[in-house]
Symmetry: C2
Subunit: 202 residues, 2 copies
Amino acid sequence: MPERRKSSTSPDLLAAALFDVAAESGLENASVREVAKRAGVSIGAVQHHFSTKDEMFAFALRTLVDRLLTRLAESSADADPHTALFQALSQLLPLDEQRTREAHVLAAFAVRAATSEPLSEIRRTTLFTIRTGISTVLIGIGTPEAETRAALLLSTVNGLALDALGSPAMYPPQYLDHALETQIRLTLHDAENPLASVGLAS
Amino acid sequence: MPERRKSSTSPDLLAAALFDVAAESGLENASVREVAKRAGVSIGAVQHHFSTKDEMFAFALRTLVDRLLTRLAESSADADPHTALFQALSQLLPLDEQRTREAHVLAAFAVRAATSEPLSEIRRTTLFTIRTGISTVLIGIGTPEAETRAALLLSTVNGLALDALGSPAMYPPQYLDHALETQIRLTLHDAENPLASVGLAS
């Protein structure tokens, strides 16, 4: 007997359904059909909001990125630079179940960006925003090579998240914490004024 | 008119066909049907070698990893540590067309490892092998925190490759070169004997 499906929904509920499907069984399984099924709505209800799968993907990625950027900005107010960077960037590491799901879906979108211009544009803007936040902190305390070290710190976090994805036992939370601490210490090496208070959100 | 397809092939040719499909249009499009089409063989010819898609994926990832590990080991003989690490790890960065295709497919497999135990096992072994090679170099020249810094250096490279995938204009080859140089310099900071000759392959 076919399930009874609702004929209307909201883009946010569909993005949440897409996120659940992608986090549990991979972005490659997040078809319009599967997302509709997970959201308990008809395929037509999905198509009412998104005329293509690409459009649905772009909306879902933007929703995820907005959530992450909000947490990044909030987490780092009024702390010393090392703590501010640690609190902000640990939002991107798989340190608990929610962040593990987010890191998985974010990495899947990053790979998909190689073959999708709309996703690529969202990712570019996201990386640029986070890199700017990091380099503002680094410049504020007189860190040498601030721009390059900011990009490296972000890539290290993205790489740690990617490496931990398929090997969680090799990269448990305590290890990821320690690795991030170490990279921040290397990043801040030779900063002129490493203890100045500079919030990432400022 | 249907194309005439060969009814036999080799696993290596199928892995090469899978790699081409994944590099050009994403791993999500590398179905048995698409791989057979690209290799110019029948679906049955693929199924003769691989009874499932997962088996085909695992063989293709192993083939790619073997190629990369061979290049990594070869590239670093008889050089100083900084040069040895740079030459080896630059094999994993999208510095030319071939490495861009490899980095794309490797990252796609890394994400897929989150939901596939056979791929996860291959990735775990690969990361462990490369990390061991790096930390051998770092330990050889008395680098503090050698194991952690080795893992960080590899994650940085994997993260740079991932970030460059969807944003090649933001991470052009010269920039990636410079970023890798900088991370290696940060990694070797405070090593006791930074100029000793220690090959990655030794």
